[in-house]
Symmetry: C2
């Protein structure tokens, strides 16, 4: 079936069929009806390849992901997919499969520059997509990685400081500040933090939030309570053990991700202490495991779907040429805490301060 046969069957021209199908021009009710009857009778659908060739638009958004197995990626795609679908766009997915090669090498993406750009150019200049969303596995600046292109590009989860590139991430700093303030409000004063790999962006941003919380609460952080981790379970365990073994241990520990929080909780248990009665713990990420730790982990939830939604919206706005000058270069999605069972309230009267 094609538009010519539909036209013949309905006794009109192909132009008319096109007009009624796309609503591009007024067509008399009679002809419109005839066309629609034939169309539905044969279940005709426009050949979108031919349409694309003609209108130079594919209605496809290329989604380039560093690795679909990254814990944050599926939920982001979920958001992209929803918003794209609502607006008549399809998703062309390209998985770079960098999970193994990027493990613990958060900033060594430069080595993959060529592959990434080749994938983008294949997508773009093969005329297969109208725009691309690059979904990072890590929250870091990938400035300089993606070559300038003449179609809309937005980076999700990662960022880039180039002015030409829009990105959408989440608010590391404010939520970290909030997490610490929450601990203050629960009566904690000796608060330890186990950081992520200290050179990484989220580790620094989260630390900024932590420090701000202390400042605003009017307390001086105890430097001996700030320990370097590396995002992995094992670091959480060993740093947690150190903390527990101190002569004056903290009453609460903020681990900068759930994996380290899990390690810390295990270290606390293994020392014969109880979470949260003896030591409270808060994590970051709200991975699936957070809900299955014992007790269930209080942590911060990243609105991944929201990131995907916003990324898709940005790209669609760019495609439709909405006034982009008002759109901020960098969209920051707020996070929120999910309160579960690893934080205890300290009885102020006890003099724990």
């Amino acid at each position: 079936m094609n538009i010519r046969k539909i036209a013949e069957l309905a006794g009109v021209s192909t132009a008319t069929v096109s007009y009624v199908l796309n609503g591009t021009k007024n067509v008399t009710a009679d002809k419109k009806k005839r066309v629609m009857e034939v169309v539905s009778k044969y279940g005709y659908q426009t050949n979108s390849i031919a349409k694309s060739l003609r209108v130079k638009r594919t209605d496809n958004i290329g989604v380039l992901v560093e690795d679909i197995r990254g814990f944050s990626v599926p939920a982001i795609i979920n958001g992209i997919s929803e918003r794209a679908g609502e607006n008549g766009y399809r998703i062309l997915l390209n998985d770079l499969q960098m999970l193994e090669s990027l493990f613990n090498k958060y900033d060594q993406i430069t080595q993959h520059k060529d592959r990434i750009n080749a994938a983008i150019s294949l997508l773009l200049y093969g005329a297969r997509v109208d725009a691309v969303i690059y979904v990072g596995m890590f929250d870091r600046d990938i400035t300089g990685i993606i070559n300038a292109i003449d179609k809309p590009l937005v980076i999700a989860y990662s960022t880039a400081s180039e002015t030409a590139v829009r990105s959408v991430t989440y608010d590391n700093e404010n939520i970290s500040c909030e997490a610490i303030k929450y601990l203050f409000n629960q009566g904690h004063r000796r608060i330890a933090v186990i950081t992520g790999l200290s050179r990484t962006f989220p580790a620094r941003a989260r630390m900024k939030g932590v420090l701000r919380a202390f400042k605003e609460a009017g307390y001086e952080p105890d430097a001996s309570l700030i320990l370097n981790g590396d995002w992995e379970y094992a670091a959480g365990y060993s740093r947690g053990s150190e903390l527990v073994d101190m002569k004056d241990p903290p009453t609460a520990i903020f681990a900068m991700n759930d994996l380290m929080a899990a390690g810390t909780m295990d270290a606390i248990s293994d020392a014969g202490l109880n979470v949260p009665k003896d030591i409270s713990v808060v994590g970051f990420d709200n991975r699936e495991i957070a809900a299955y730790l014992r007790p269930k982990l209080t942590t911060v939830d990243i609105d991944l779907k929201g990131i995907g939604l916003a990324a898709a919206q940005t790209v669609i706005d760019m495609l439709r040429n909405r006034d982009l000058t008002t759109t901020p270069k960098k969209t920051v999605i707020p996070c929120k805490m999910v309160l579960r069972n690893t934080v205890a309230t300290i009885n102020f009267s006890k003099g724990a301060l």
Copy 2:
């Protein structure tokens, strides 16, 4: 840039450019060189939309997923994506977003029949893909859901009994048999099982394997030790508690998924008993949480990437018209156990039998 300009610049015809780019005909070395030079100078890439229109082939595989957030889905896509890429195919992803609507309603997919078929027909008859892979969130028979289509279709993770439809799943029965035999080999005789929702396919298939293991080992299963669960954590906890409270409790429990295994482990701990010293536990799925439970859960790993690889391979074989008559209608990927720390070896001399 297009093929005509390349042709002009190289001083040849468009046909010649096409011949060298596609290797479809012999071209003299001289002309070939001239063409390649112009092509690389301008970074020309074939407009694949125009090519598709002409050759009536898109080199796109439509991947329709019930929900990308399902725990098994990303790894399957990873496999599909890898095999597709190796063979020059792209992935057009369509996320049906049925996570919420399908939660705990494993077999109520019939209600979504229209939406599913609309998505397929949009993909297919909009001439946007050459074939489709349907990725289920659950391991169950979806016969009758997908209308017959005239292009290759393979179902991954779910199955269909229609002869026309190929599917690839994993081996519930054999691995369940193996899991129980493993427990026997570790000296266990009083083995309990907490099933999944008993009407679901994997619950029945896994039970079949369990029963076969008992039979082949020459033991009669104790019916009071076979308890119905529903795949959720809470059921694992309550069934686990019942088991623990028995006058003659089991020495090992096979929970039919990791979520229930987690619940069971917690019930055991809460009863003041130790996993695995007092009671061993084995799960199923090898979700991320399995590696973070304490102790780490011994479970069965489903080769999800392998399912994706096989699904893509099947579809590609069909597209290339390999001899499909020899391809089995249903491909079953074997599973393997991942041995961690929740199973103890029982000292036979103790007379535990």
